[in-house]
Symmetry: C2
Subunit: 342 residues, 2 copies
Amino acid sequence: MNDSYDFIKACYGQPVARTPVWLMRQAGRYLPQYRKIRERVTFLELCKTPELAAEVTIQPVDALGVDAAILFSDILVPIEPMGQRLHYRPAPVLEPPVRSAADVAALQVLKPEQDVPYVLETIRLVRRELAGRVPLIGFGGAPFTLACYMVEGVGSRHFLALKKLMYQSPIVYAQLMDKITDTSIVYLRAQAEAGVQALQIFDSWGGILSPADYKRHVLPYSRRLIAALEDLGLPLIHFVKGAGTMLDLVASAGGQVVGLDWSISLNRARDVLGTKMAVQGNLDPSVLLGDQAVIEREVQRILDENAGRPGHVFNLGHGILPDVPPENAAFLVDCVHRLSQH
Amino acid sequence: MNDSYDFIKACYGQPVARTPVWLMRQAGRYLPQYRKIRERVTFLELCKTPELAAEVTIQPVDALGVDAAILFSDILVPIEPMGQRLHYRPAPVLEPPVRSAADVAALQVLKPEQDVPYVLETIRLVRRELAGRVPLIGFGGAPFTLACYMVEGVGSRHFLALKKLMYQSPIVYAQLMDKITDTSIVYLRAQAEAGVQALQIFDSWGGILSPADYKRHVLPYSRRLIAALEDLGLPLIHFVKGAGTMLDLVASAGGQVVGLDWSISLNRARDVLGTKMAVQGNLDPSVLLGDQAVIEREVQRILDENAGRPGHVFNLGHGILPDVPPENAAFLVDCVHRLSQH
């Protein structure tokens, strides 16, 4: 059943009639139907209310005709039960920041059924309401990206608190990463058991490190996480933003699909990754602010760069921007389908 | 005379006894002697007062033992006379932002001797005061990075106003880029005539574009700028931050040295660039927040990645951070000299 979806087939590198497409953050602020629901509840309330979270998860499937739904949630949701308070002002804030061995020791490993039942209930609801129309993708933050937020406490440009910890207290850093990895494993396994049909790991900040530091301080944890998910039999998408210069390292973490931002041509990325890994990407999200002629030109360019190789899921290279006209997002999906059809 | 400096030799790919090193933003806030001067004047007053600008240019030569001085100034200094007001609050603000064909038409091309005499006077003063100790590097922003600031008006994360102009009004965008390129040519030529012994072009934001957009919307202007400087006979360093995935394009713009951030291993970068181009880089600036053992380990790693190839100028992969202890910066310079000595 799962194998009949173009999205799933493409993840496994199998041929499809037309390139499947979904958009990171496709459930969100650029959609008026999403904003209408957000008038009534906060972002975190929305994440924690399965009926509403399921509704916004499905909105872009109806509005855009994408080939997959992605669970509406946030990578920081499993961090709150680990022991940090989570607020959105509107950017996320985690309090107090994790800085010491004692801070790390005080963190709990997540118990998904007990700590985040609303996530699992949302998944069950979405599966029921989608009734097989498109597959549902679950997701989580990569251990490094979660560590960035937990140590900084707030968003950051240079992540200096995280880097100080990594360089000056490598043992405390490793203990933190191990605990987050344990949480990520049980969290993503619970999502699979609740019914997601693919998993994406978001490493939004892995690209802030040199390849040498990525290999030393990130890769072992991402690799352990992915290895612990292998027996689930679901396609796993690993997206490390800004990692175009070290795709060989990213691929060595495992999984079926490497997510790509727009900083690398699809052609070059596929040359590095070889035929074993599928790819997902990689349109600059700002192209959706342009007119439709530019959108169509850029879709064609990316399809040309892929040169018909199987194993391509079309996506943006990062989340959709809040001020994108919804009709441009729908036009993009249509373009991908139309221009990739054999 | 110029040819006797290790820094200049390395720029031309000639062998040196030990790897030359300087640090981007080496004149700046992390130095107490700089902060003392800044107590008396604003940032812009400092840029416009040759005696003081010369003094802070030379401070790191004395304090750190670097192999080159770099003019103390700001890439936005030549923009003010083009017709935008420039403030620092403390981040730079250009008013009003350039958005239309009329805005572009109203911009003036710089007349260096008339518009920025203080820059040229600073160069003359520094050359006199350095008395040949180390060479002096001049610099300017690449046309694209200057356009980013001019169109956004303020710093930005996604540079959406710039990208909208680029995608929706490519002719206006091209007119703006042409005018900035004309300004950059006369500005950098004037610096050379005043006495700088090398030039660095900073393209801080070139890496926000896909390789396809970089090739279409940035490269022609950077190439024209560099071609117009070739007869000066000075080494030209071209630093495009975040361009590790398209170094072949960057190199095709010309010049002698490609600046590298830390997102790519020096080994891989040199493989792409071949033996024709020298490289500059590429330590993660946050390493200087760590202890000296980490600094020494990372310097050794970068020297190992270079594997003794001629044509390497050691530098950070971006500007030095304001909270780096000066003794760590001095230790870095010492490490590079000590560990690279034959």
